[in-house]
């Protein structure tokens, strides 16, 4: 089946509606704690009006097809949320770097690193 109206020049990678998609995996799956935290962070950032779901989508799209293939859903989300929060002036890259080092110093496991203020 072809869409005859348009050539594909200018079509962005994520705009795949209407293409053959094959089977859809409808299995349910559990979310890891960190994934729930990423989701919660998006809710908080939206409520505080730092950015909107539109900004989330913009950065996800700009990350390109490689990210879509190599990163999980919430890995892509935390990348986009981080980018949007920096664009919104919530923190600077240097502040984020300092915080990441501080968290990493708490311990190697997620449990150890998560404890703390």
């Amino acid at each position: 089946m072809t869409n005859s109206a348009t050539a594909d020049a200018g079509r962005r990678w994520h705009d795949m509606g209407g293409d053959p998609a094959g089977q859809i995996n409808r299995d349910e799956h559990d979310y890891a704690l960190w994934e729930k935290r990423v989701d919660a962070l998006m809710v908080i950032a939206s409520k505080k009006k730092h950015f909107t779901v539109d900004g989330l989508r913009r950065v996800l799209e700009d990350m390109g097809p490689e990210a879509f293939e190599t990163m999980s859903y919430y890995e892509r989300w935390i990348h986009s949320i981080t980018q949007n929060l920096m664009e919104g002036g919530v923190f600077t890259p240097a502040e984020l770097g300092d915080k990441m080092a501080e968290v990493a110093a708490r311990g190697a496991s997620y449990g150890e690193a998560s404890l703390g203020d």
């Binding site: 072809t2 348009t6 079509r11 705009d15 293409d19 539109d54």
Partner: protein, 100 residues
């Protein structure tokens, strides 16, 4: 603030989705661009997501549900041609069907 909210388009009126391909965050699916459908309902005013995506204060623009038949989208090969698809499209992507 480049767009101005225009008077609401009547339910049932034919509309064509613009056949343009700007870079950036846009809200019109590629496979529907250039296709003609009819206004199914007016969903009211909301902030332009294509502006909000860049962290800029957005103008309120009108969102519509537009109904297409499979024939509208895929042409005479569509089977069944009379099945319909609804897409929610912002006013800035709609043009009258008499425009070239």
């Amino acid at each position: 603030m480049t767009e101005t909210s225009s008077p609401a388009i009547a339910t049932g009126a034919p509309v064509r989705l613009k056949s343009i391909a700007p870079p950036g965050h846009v809200r019109c699916p590629w496979y529907l661009r250039g296709k003609t459908g009819v206004i199914e309902r007016d969903l009211g005013l909301t902030g332009n997501p294509e502006t909000l995506a860049y962290g800029v204060e957005a103008q309120q623009i009108r969102l519509y549900r537009v109904r297409f038949t499979m024939k509208d989208i895929w042409g005479d090969d569509a089977d069944p041609a009379s099945d319909t698809l609804d897409a929610e499209i912002f006013e800035n992507w709609l043009e009258p069907t008499h425009a070239s």
